[in-house]
């Protein structure tokens, strides 16, 4: 497993804690243009992801990239997560990964 550049699990609210660093998150796509995708984070924030999304794009997509600011990410890797996804579970994961169980994550 390549641990050279770990990405922190974030939701909309936690993105600001990792500006300039590698992050990963799952968004529900609301709009998709050439060059960027707008989506809702698992805690309900509007995020912008810059880059070239895969075609076709499913409703939920995971992006791994660098946090530009508190609501935008420059994507390096896109993964389609399908059309059904449990957002609340993911959100709780993000909170644990940044909070009480931070020590368990890279």
């Amino acid at each position: 497993m390549d641990t050279s550049s770990p990405a922190a699990f974030v939701n909309g609210g936690l993105l600001r804690m990792h500006v300039g660093r590698k992050v990963r998150t799952v968004i529900q796509v609301t709009r998709s243009d050439a060059g960027s995708v707008m989506g809702k984070s698992t805690d309900g924030c509007q995020l912008v992801v810059r880059g070239s999304p895969p075609a076709p794009l499913t409703s939920y997509v995971e992006v791994i990239g660098v946090a530009e600011n508190e609501n935008s990410i420059r994507a390096e890797l896109w993964t389609n997560f399908g059309d059904s996804f449990d957002a609340s579970n993911y959100d709780q994961l993000c909170q644990l990964a940044n909070g009480e169980l931070k020590h368990l994550f890279l």
Partner: protein
Amino acid sequence: MPVNLTRNAIAMMNSGDVNSKPLVQVVDIKLIGNSQERYRFLLSDSESTQHAMLATQLNEQVRTGRVKKGSIIQLIDYICSTVQNRRIIVVLNMETIIPEYEIIGNPKLLMGSEPEANKSMPNNNLFEPSTRSTNNRYSAPAPANKAQSFQPTIQPAYQPPPNYKIQGPIMKNEAPARIIPIAALNPYQGRWAIKARVTAKGDLRRYNNARGDGKVFSFDLLDSDGGEIRVTCFNAVVDRFYNVIEVGKVYLISKGSLKPAQKNFNHLKNEWEIFLESNSTVELCPDEDGSIPRQQFSFRPITEIESAENNSILDVIGIVISVNPSVPILRKNGMETQRRILNLKDVSGKSVELTLWGDFCNKEGQKLQEMVDSGLFPVLAVKAGKVNDFNGKSIGTISSTQLFIDPDCPEAQGLRAWFESGGRNTASISISKEIMPGGSKNEIRKTLTQIKDEGLGRSDKPDWVTAKATVVFIKTDNFCYTACPLMIGDRQCNKKVTQSGNKRWLCDRCNQEFEECDYRYLLQVQIQDHTGLTWVTAFQEAGEEILGCSAKEMYLLKYELQDDTRFGEIIRSRLFHQYLFRLKIKEELYGDEQRVKITVVKVDKVNYSAESRYLLDMVTKNLPNRKQF
């Protein structure tokens, strides 16, 4: 040894003296009272006598023989009162000084208004009762004669005539015994008579034991108060009464002995049983006594049977919804008997399986079969059925069971009315199927090592748990068995069948042969989780979920087509799948040792969303920070 009873003790007590603590003699003891055990003494001071009631706390002394007729006692605590114009002493505390002694002197009953008589003209002062008395229980010819040999200082020196009898209301009464309720019968009763209807008559049984040959029969009685008792006769007594007793008739019975009931065979609500003897009397009462019911039931709704104890005896009534044919069954003792299974349904919305054994199959069972076959749904009342908890709860007949088809009782009418006005169409849940406790809300999650560490399955009820694990090995030898496809009620028989002849199969339970048998899974699977691994057994439904195809397909593939390659591929493809296993864990005896057997009752694919929620919940519950509060 000369004994001096307290002179004039009786007169003193009667005039109110409660402090003298006199020495008196017990001339007679009589047990009186139907519902309560009360003893009445006749006390003597050697000249006069007086009745005295013994306080119940002293009853033990009479029962154990510490005080008896002739005992010399000292009254320590007593009161004197007037009851029906007679003075009666109540003894609250006494002590037996000499347990056995000849009757001292010539005591006579002291009546309240009569003058004291300590003079000696016995013939003039004899109290003559008007009732017949042939019994000389209290005659004192022998003791009177012996009384001459000792010289009590107080006694007047005279010789009572040899045929002297103490007479009074204490003599034996030859009048017919009063009829008492069955509920009042007990071994200390004294004379009793009961009037009751025969509700059941047992078969005449012959037996042979160390003492030789014998015969016995029993019958059950019910009286107008609802009391029930069993009556048993042995040997010669059987000859006297066997043909006299008929079910449904009312008899007056007296002079039997009362002994503790044998709870193994006698399920009536009575701690005693009557044993008739050579001097017992049984008289038929020809007048129809409407006050005595024909039968007494205490029906339990089927829903209550679900929580009844295994082997308990109860009455139940229901509509017969299905009757299966009679099949011969080989019992453990090598004897063959008949068995029929029926299903009963009642207003509680539940149904129960009733198993008829032996003669019930041919008599009531056959009748019920005919009725159901012709479209009827009869009411069946069962008296004294036994609860069995092998598969859920069911009821079976025992030797003392009685079955009543369409009985004329209010419960039957109520059931019929319910059935006709909709009960017929309401679905009922059978309590005779294995129940899996706990829905998804009550699921207990365990890891595989917890099963062993926590000793699950060792109590008398099985443990039901859920475990998330992965299939790591499936045993391919004997992965299925040949099963009986015939239906018993609404369930498939599924018993293992044996080959009979060339291409036919035989089922012992259904006693039928057929060409095609069913194939059902009996899979031994090894499952593993992060804590450990264990073997489990999966039956049909669980097996199909694990292997993804029917047992019959796999059987044909392996044994008919003999395509081991394909067979192996299928097996391999099913390994390393993770499931949520609902497990039934129970310790069972295998030969000599107790082994914990785990059966897969249900296999569910893991729902990742739900499972994640479960795991997140577990994580947050166990976070150390929370405990700091």
